[in-house]
């Protein structure tokens, strides 16, 4: 054998006791409860790194859809927002989101607020695990954290090219530390919404529409980019790098397998792994049909295919299936995703019509398609339209109002928008003093 790093020896030691459980005459076997716990944790770890990578996907998508004079700033925001989300979700969010039945206000507000997230001790035994029938706290934590960060990524895209760095980051801390965990606790923390029977498997509303609501509030307070709606006409500001934007979309699609698949929360049984497999298949189908819907629709409506809409369409398909990626048949996933794709093609111009400037189409993709996906649960899952609407209104409404308040305060206190000159010259040189593509020669 290879005498390798010292750790494994310890590691294996930990493994032994459990084996002892088996009778002596038979070979040591694996206890079912340990197996399930191990496999569930593994699902979260795999899902965790896949969803983590979505942070890169958002960054590339946004970096490709802003103008090159704002790319350094967009990169900075994306790296910073994920990092701050990781800190504030640990500091406050995690326990606010999961009260473990311990509420300050029953079903509405966790009693574990404020308290930092704590992991299980090193080499914990199943008996001492926080939840012996679920998965390791660390794996659950890393997985849930990624969802929280996603909401902030959604906001950064919508408000790009004009918002100041620090006010944006302060908002991110509040959103990821407080707003999202609060509303999410109502559903995934076992709060009143879950009691009410609201159904949102992986978060079309809990995560995506929530992020979109925060973005919408910000877009309203912040206002459109200078010249975007000059003289009542929409003046497009084309993205600077569509190859990068396409890469971002693909990375997000990849991450979504973890986003939805991991949300099965278990793969330690035949039924669970089969379900995760269904989820993978449906998620992929919805993304594909969303893209194809946008492809065909833009060809018909504009006479030319619009790549940026196709990218949004795929993402809208993904968001649409997120509320119920398990129950639908592949055909179900196809039409649910396709409608998501159709929605973006119509809502992107719609937002422009009402003069809400969403640089990357985050609100149509995560908001409108998110709402659609949540409603679509009624077709295959068992949910009533009533409770679905209730959940949408509750989460989107609350997030919107709270965000609006925060944005207004930030605006009043420190201002959230860069100077007119800075916006015109580009945030990279004016706010950060660093061009993303400084060379004379290409790159």
């Amino acid at each position: 054998m290879k005498l390798t790093k010292l750790i494994p020896v310890v590691g294996l030691a930990v493994a032994l006791p459990t084996l002892a459980l088996a009778q002596d005459d038979a070979p040591a076997t694996v206890a079912a409860d340990e197996f399930v716990w191990i496999m569930n944790s593994l699902l979260f770890l795999i899902g965790g790194f896949l969803v983590f990578f979505m942070a890169a996907g958002f960054a590339m998508l946004e970096g490709g859809l802003v103008r090159s004079k704002n790319v350094t700033m967009q990169m900075t925001k994306n790296v910073a927002l994920f990092s701050l989300a990781a800190i504030f979700y640990w500091l406050i969010g995690y326990n606010l989101m999961y009260p473990l039945g311990d509420w300050a206000i029953e079903g509405y507000f966790s009693a574990l607020f404020p308290a930092v997230g704590v992991l299980e001790p090193v080499g914990v035994a199943l008996a001492d695990a926080d939840d012996s029938s679920y998965a390791s706290t660390g794996s659950d934590y890393i997985f849930q954290l990624m969802f929280c960060a996603a909401t902030a990524s959604i906001v950064s895209g919508a408000l790009a090219e004009r918002i100041k760095l620090w006010p944006f980051l302060i908002f991110v801390c509040i959103l990821t530390g407080f707003i999202y965990p609060l509303t999410a606790s109502w559903q995934w923390g076992g709060g009143w919404l879950s009691e009410a029977g609201f159904s949102d498997f992986a978060g079309s509303t809990v995560v995506h529409a929530c992020g979109a609501a925060a973005a919408l509030a910000g877009a309203i307070i912040l206002g459109p980019r200078l010249g975007k709606y000059k003289d009542g006409v929409v003046h497009p500001m084309p993205g600077s790098n569509l190859a990068l934007a396409t890469l971002g979309m693909f990375i997000l699609w990849l991450g979504w397998f973890g986003f939805n698949g991991g949300s099965q929360l278990a793969m330690g049984s035949v039924g669970d792994i089969a379900d995760v497999s269904r989820i993978f298949s449906n998620t992929n189908m919805a993304a594909a049909s969303g893209a194809v819907a946008a492809l065909i629709l833009t060809q018909i409506m504009y006479g030319k295919v619009d790549l940026t809409m196709v990218l949004n369409g795929a993402l809208a398909g993904l968001v649409s299936i997120t509320a119920e990626p398990l129950a639908p048949t592949l055909f179900g996933a196809l039409w649910i995703g396709a409608i998501g794709g159709v929605i973006v093609v119509f809502t992107v111009p719609f937002l422009d019509k009402i003069k809400i400037d969403d640089v990357v189409g985050a609100i149509p993709v995560h908001g409108f398609a998110g709402v659609w996906g949540t409603i679509a649960v009624i077709f295959y899952g068992d949910a009533s339209i009533g409770t679905q609407l209730l959940g949408i209104v509750a989460i989107v409404g609350t997030t919107f109002v709270l965000s609006l308040i925060v944005w207004i305060i930030l605006k009043g206190v420190m201002g959230i928008r860069v100077s007119e000159e800075a916006e015109l010259e580009g945030l990279d040189t004016t706010e950060l003093g660093m061009e993303a593509y400084p060379d004379f020669s290409k790159g």
């Binding site: 929409v234 003046h235 497009p236 084309p238 409506m301 504009y302 030319k304 619009d306 940026t308 809409m309 093609v345 992107v348 111009p349 422009d352 189409g361």
Partner: protein
């Protein structure tokens, strides 16, 4: 000497360069530009919003030649760059008072 400035369609660059070389032009400066002219103004749709494309990609040639050669150069560019489609480009001629080749120090006619 004369400075011939020509704005042409990018894909004509190679052809024009060859034609010019064949008539003895030994140097030029090529710049990527955006051109505005009668060709401009067609509309495109971006994310559902129609907008006018005012600037179209062009390539600008700057060639310094002896006064005697100027007309031939202009003519050569004109015939080679011509597609009879709008946006073919323009050619302008300016006077050059002096020229110098850095490497050798040669001046004027000898420098170009």
């Amino acid at each position: 000497m004369k400075l011939v400035i020509a704005a042409i369609k990018p894909f004509k660059l190679e052809e024009v360069r060859e034609a010019l070389t064949s008539i003895g032009v030994r140097g030029m400066m090529v710049t990527e530009i955006k051109g505005f002219g009668s060709q401009s103004g067609h509309t495109e749709i971006y994310r559902g919003a129609e907008y006018a494309v005012n600037f179209v990609p062009k390539v600008k040639l700057e060639i310094v030649v002896s006064a005697s050669m100027a007309d031939q150069v202009v003519e050569t560019i004109a015939t080679t760059a011509k597609t009879d489609k709008i946006g073919d480009g323009k050619i302008f001629v300016l006077d050059v008072s002096s020229a110098l080749r850095v490497r050798t120090g040669e001046t004027n006619e000898d420098a170009i």
